[in-house]
Symmetry: C7
Subunit: 84 residues, 7 copies
């Protein structure tokens, strides 16, 4: 099953955007990760993250994000699709 999540995330200045993306790519089944900076504050960055993969779960995604000190602010969209 193809799964995609659109998430709003609060990230401290470290780790870097690049490192967060690379860690998310290591999740089993992950196909692509896209991180866009929405707003930069003094100590944090608001990010729009979209992840897409085969049978990925929101738990695994948020666990990886937590381990990178990123807080899940909200889940904006969820897409599921049966592969033909």
């Amino acid at each position: 099953m193809k799964v995609a999540y659109y998430l709003d995330i609060l990230k401290p200045h470290m780790p870097s955007l690049d490192l967060v993306a690379r860690k998310l790519m290591e999740i089993e089944g992950m196909k692509n990760v896209r991180i866009k900076v929405d707003e930069l504050d003094q100590k944090t960055a608001s990010l729009h993250i979209s992840v897409e993969g085969n049978d990925i779960s929101l738990e695994t995604v948020t666990e990886v994000l937590s381990s990178m000190n990123c807080a899940l602010h909200s889940v904006d969209e969820v897409i599921y699709e049966h592969k033909e």
Copy 2:
């Protein structure tokens, strides 16, 4: 027959968006489910849900939504298509 519904739904904070989507995917013939958060209130979330599948029925979809404590607010669009 390909059928698609665009629905407005009121969901309490639990169950999660993810769980609602997964339950809808279990419906016979369902091909994809897309849930977008429209507005978040203290106790509820307004959702735009689009479901698409082969010979799915609105009754089954709303039954599954009810069983997840989601109230159908309105049906915005209905699409039917004969497969070639």
Copy 3:
């Protein structure tokens, strides 16, 4: 000949959107039906209906709509195309 009509319709609350769509799909040659809710009033709903099929006629479409208590408000667009 491929024929498509874009219609504005006034529908009482019953029958349901879904039932109107299913009835229109039963018309000989009909390929797809799309119904979008434009405005909801206390007793009626204004609908944009698009129907597309092979050699369907406006009479048959409006007859089916009448039999469902739907009033044809206006014909917004008519498209005819000779199949290659």
Copy 4:
């Protein structure tokens, strides 16, 4: 040669949109006809008509429109294309 015309037309309430479109489709070489209602007045309707076909001529199109009591208000666009 592929030819397309975009025309503004003034039509009395009768004949119907549907009949005008069907008559235009009978022109030799006509491939598709699209009629969109722009404005409805008490006695007339302003229409955007686009016709496309092989070696159709503006004279034939306007003759058919005249025979249906439709007045050509203006020619908005003319497209010619040599078939490969």
Copy 5:
């Protein structure tokens, strides 16, 4: 070499749009001609003309337009492309 020109033209009421387009189509190498009416004044019409062809020249295009009593107001865009 594929060449396209986008021209602004001032045309008296006669000859007709249709005739101007047909004359331009007779130019050696011309592939398509598109004429859009921008503004209609009492005695003239402002037109956007786009012509596209193989090795057509601006001189030939403007000569044909002059012979039809059309004045070249401005050249808005010029596109050249080597055919693969």
Copy 6:
């Protein structure tokens, strides 16, 4: 390597747009040239020029433009792409 430049150019009334485009097309490797008129002043025209080709260089492009009495006002965008 595919290279594209988007340039802002100031051109005196002569030479013509058409001649400038033809000269740019003579550059080795040039694939297409697109010149759009941005503003017409009494003595000059501001142009948006986009050129695309294989291994073309900005020097050659600006040299050709200089030889046509066109002044390079600014380089707006540069695109490089390795051919697959």
Copy 7:
């Protein structure tokens, strides 16, 4: 792994846009580089740079930019994709 970065950069007037782009193209795995001028000040230019390639790293990209006297102002977007 396909990687793309969207960067905001501050560049002194020299080296030229063209040279910066060519240097970035020399990075191992780089597929395309696109530089757009956002704002021109007296001594500096604000640039939007997008780079895309196979297994390119942000470190290498910023090193090359530093060696060209360009300062990385911000990373706006990061995209990773597993090749099929």
